[in-house]
């Protein structure tokens, strides 16, 4: 990997930079080291905080101290405020992050439970909608004010799922499908313009990751939830994928760009009833274009999962499925041969 000094020299040779930029860059790098936490340690923290939150919630419930919905909302709200304050206090201490995180989880669940029970209408759609709206508001506030990347990611994921659930529980399946399509476009636009995320990286980067997780979570929810019209979602996600593919190949020959669009159209055929395939392909493409291994891994994993689901749920005999699978496989291998030949002609291989 080249050094910062070599990089600045290369950039300066292309377009003159401010004369004092190397000095300011040196000062900025000397002042602080980029300190973030690897994703698997984030996973450990999230796991620990979730288990602890459940245990603390059971303890709170068993004490019998909270007897009404309003009481639960009050205690939950207080816990959330305390969690935000605590996280600010231990902002630079990463290893203590799970304590306020657990508090914020308990608080959010208490607000949800309290809103659900507030007028005793536990099983009504109105009660559930009210509780989901309250939880959505809590998660939105946490995204804005809780100074922690992991919590912002989780809150974005939960917010996406809550909105999807809210629409489905109110029997608005088309709106739910369009909401998920909007999530797909959000993911595409945010990651295509990733450099802009650095303007408020503390909020926007975890939100961008949370949207990816939220998109996949909502797509899985739609697969196993009440029936929803899938074609509007498939068409919109295919449009997002086509837009991303077109944008990512600005200097490629027109033939290559048209080939990419043809690939999207072909993928639309099996993805008509399983739109998750398009979303996973979109995330895979965006991840590779940004050199982001987490997105590539997520996209690949979900693509394999959604393809598996597609063939599993196909209303056909194993024999028909086998012909469909081999046919699709041979098509992809033929496409590879075309790509390799075109790449070799362009001197890329």
């Amino acid at each position: 990997m080249i050094t910062m000094r070599e990089l600045l020299a290369q950039l300066h040779a292309e377009t003159p930079l401010a004369p004092d930029l190397p000095e300011r860059v040196g000062q900025a790098l000397a002042a602080s080291v980029p300190a973030t936490t690897p994703w698997y340690i984030h996973g450990l923290v999230a796991f620990g905080a979730s288990i602890a939150a459940l245990l603390l919630l059971v303890f709170t419930g068993m004490t019998g101290a909270i007897t009404s919905g309003a009481g639960a909302i009050t205690v939950g709200g207080t816990l959330i405020v305390a969690a935000i304050a605590l996280r600010f206090m231990v902002r630079s201490v990463s290893w203590l992050a799970q304590l306020p995180l657990a508090f914020s989880m308990v608080g959010a669940l208490m607000v949800f439970g309290g809103a659900l029970l507030i007028d005793g209408s536990f099983d009504s759609t109105l009660g559930l909608s009210r509780a989901l709206l309250a939880l959505a508001l809590v998660e939105l506030l946490l995204i804005l004010f809780y100074p922690d990347q992991l919590r912002r990611l989780l809150s974005t994921l939960l917010l996406a799922l809550i909105i999807c659930w809210l629409l489905l529980s109110n029997e608005l399946p088309l709106a739910a499908a369009l909401f998920v399509a909007a999530l797909g476009w959000g993911v595409a636009l945010l990651w295509l313009h990733e450099p802009l995320l650095n303007r408020r990286a503390d909020i926007l980067r975890p939100v961008a990751y949370g949207l990816v997780f939220g998109l996949f979570a909502c797509l899985v929810a739609l697969l196993f939830g009440p029936p929803t019209p899938r074609w509007p979602l498939s068409l919109t996600l295919a449009a997002a994928l086509a837009y991303a593919a077109w944008s990512l190949l600005p200097y490629a020959a027109l033939q290559t760009r048209l080939l990419a669009l043809l690939g999207v159209l072909l993928l639309l055929l099996p993805a008509w009833e399983t739109p998750g395939m398009l979303a996973a392909a979109l995330v895979l493409l965006l991840g590779f274009s940004r050199g982001n291994r987490i997105l590539v891994g997520l996209g690949g994993l979900f693509l394999a999962g959604f393809i598996g689901f597609f063939y599993y749920s196909l209303a056909a005999t194993l024999l028909v499925k086998s012909f469909a699978l081999v046919g699709a496989g041979l098509l992809l291998l033929a496409a590879r041969a075309v790509v390799l030949r075109a790449s070799a002609r362009a001197g890329l291989l």
Partner: protein
Amino acid sequence: MEPLDQPASAARLRQLAAAGLLSPPELERALAHAGHLPTPRAWARFAGVALLLAGAALCLAGVFFFFAYNWADLHRFAKFALIQIALLAAAGYALWRGLDRLDGQVALFAACALVGALLAVFGQVYQTGADAYTLFLFWATLIAVPTLLARNAPLWMLFAVLLNLSLYYAQEQLIANFRDLRPAALFALNAGLLLVWELVRSRSEAWMRPPWYGRALLALAAWWGTVLLLDAIDSRWITLDGTLPIWIAPLVALALGGLAAHHYLRRAPDLPAPSLLALCAIVIITAQISQLIGWDNLFSFLFLGVLVLAQVAVATLLLLRAARRMGVPQ
């Protein structure tokens, strides 16, 4: 080291952009110059690899579906001919292209996978009454030689999965009435495979360099080791079988877990491995203490919640320190 002589990592460049020293277009150019964004050549290679892997996986799945259908109208000789032609074609392609090329390796993997389909068809046609564990064991045996010779990490994983499946079903079908020895046996198998993998890997074999395969074996060993210890905790470490010293296996698993953590922290630094082992340790310690204090007391929930938080805090602190020491790109 002078700040400007540090490597131009993506995190550092983003840090500069966040500090307002690089505009979004400058950041994009900087990321491209530093090699963090794919070049047209990388795009072409990515498309080739992705299409090859997806195409081969779909074709292979299709072949398995075809024989799973058990088409009655198809004569048994036709079935054998089809599967053997597919197998020979895949193996021939692998030999023709050579194992130093990706498509050759993929073809060899497909040939080894098709050996399983051939065995299944054999059992289907002649109603051999073979148990599932023998199918997986024969399959693993037949692909053992290519696995040893081919320098193909996914093939090693297929081999490991087949041995796991064989051992898993062997207990069920051979000694069903005996105490469930699967956790101990599967822990021993996966720990052994991991040991072999790490020993060979330490000789710097290029094809073994990606860390994911070792991590997958570690995850399997850690899973069965944890199940083994949870079993022992659940039975209060009491030997139910009279003569068998059942408690030895969990203690061995615990000791090997500690050695593995030391290995991945000090000798072959790989932070995800100790992170996984830390998670297992938290589960085991919490289970042991919850078993000691019981669940009938209200304050048990509070105590265990605080205990989990404390353990995660200690684990995170130690892992972050290790990350700094290893210079992990965080």
